[in-house]
Amino acid sequence: MDRPLRLISREGIVDSPIDALARTVEALLVVASQPLTLEQLVDATEDVLERVETALSLLSERYREGRSGIVLERAAGGYAFRAAREAAEACGRLFERPVERGLSQAALETLAIVAYMGPVSRPEIARIRGVAADSTVASLVERGLIAEAGREAGPGGAVRYRVTALFERVFGLDSLAELPRLDDLGADAESLRDRLLEVAGARAS
């Protein structure tokens, strides 16, 4: 028996409780304005976790690339509907991409700093990038990719920023843990340090 049929309730086919739950989850996902976590789905459906997970796996079978124009995806720590990739061209004719359109190199570097090191303040961003960060930060806030996250400790502390769920969604990340590790570049710092010390030594002798 084909799985998607199990979601369809009508005369002649038994409507199992899990199908009803899957329909409720569908409904929640189609009205939500952000990805919904498993916990949110459990709370809203007032059902149990295992059953909600089963419903989600039924739905991801039904709503997947090549089979449906609506695709269920994992994003920003939750579940959300999006358009199928095959419809990208049609979507491009109707919808703008205000969040990521025209992101400058400065904006991407700032995003990288906030994503890897956040919460981080404007002065810290400026220190790392070597140029003032004010307008870049303002534009990223306006796009909804970063948001305020309190101030630095102490009097007169600067506002700090973190990346948002929208950032994760736009870049197709389920969580920030999916950002590539940059540890292997640590060796770089070593060799740079040695070179600088060499120069300093040469000067002193």
């Binding site: 304005s33 959300a80 995003l111 990288a112 994503a115 070597g130 009097p155 969604r169 950002l179 710092a189």
Partner: protein, 252 residues
Amino acid sequence: MPSAVRDLELDLDAFEGPFDLLLTLVLKEQLEPAEVDIAAIVVAFVEHLTARERIDLDACGEFLVLVAALLEIKARQLFPDEGAELAELEPEEAAEELARRLAEYRRMKEAAAWLRERLVEERERYFRLGPAPLAPRPERRLAPQDPAALALALAGLAAPPPKVSLSHMALRFPPVAQFLERFRAVLRRRRVFDFDGEVVGLSRVEQAVAFLALLELRKSGEVALAQAAPFAPIRVSRPEKERMQQWTVRSA
């Protein structure tokens, strides 16, 4: 007058030609200061000096001003706002700190490149921004709040920020273009003028930049320079036939 500093021939990775052209290109932002190996310039100058019979103190002074300016520009580009902080460290600590920051920035540049690639990969994914067309509009409710938090928030905003040392920003560079325009304007009014008379009252650094502008004008054939004797005023006039110098710039 040939100058031991201006005509100092350099052969660096990023640049080949006389020192004054290098400075001009850096000030006009046509050459990345980060690419310039300043230690190599110092070595070249010291070799140049030792090849001469006696120490040219004037040349040393001019060189110090110009190379300090170059260092300042390079340092400012690499580590804005950090000069004072680094100055308090021991050389080894400073080297370590510098290396750490350079590596940090390089990592962030790589992360930015990864994000850019990711955007390209993900550009076929469209999703809804904002609420669904027929979704209910939620009402946000807030628990009772303590008004003291408001006073505290304002007190935080009224607290003066920690002091940031700006001592290393003391050297300010006027753009070369400013002096280019200034000298052109003077030459439209007068056929000849004294360089010293035009720059009197300016700081050493401003004089150095003005001098670079003058060299630039001579190079492009817009002015002719003459000096009656060493240390005599430099006379600037509208051009006659001037020898064009052959300089080459190699890209990094």
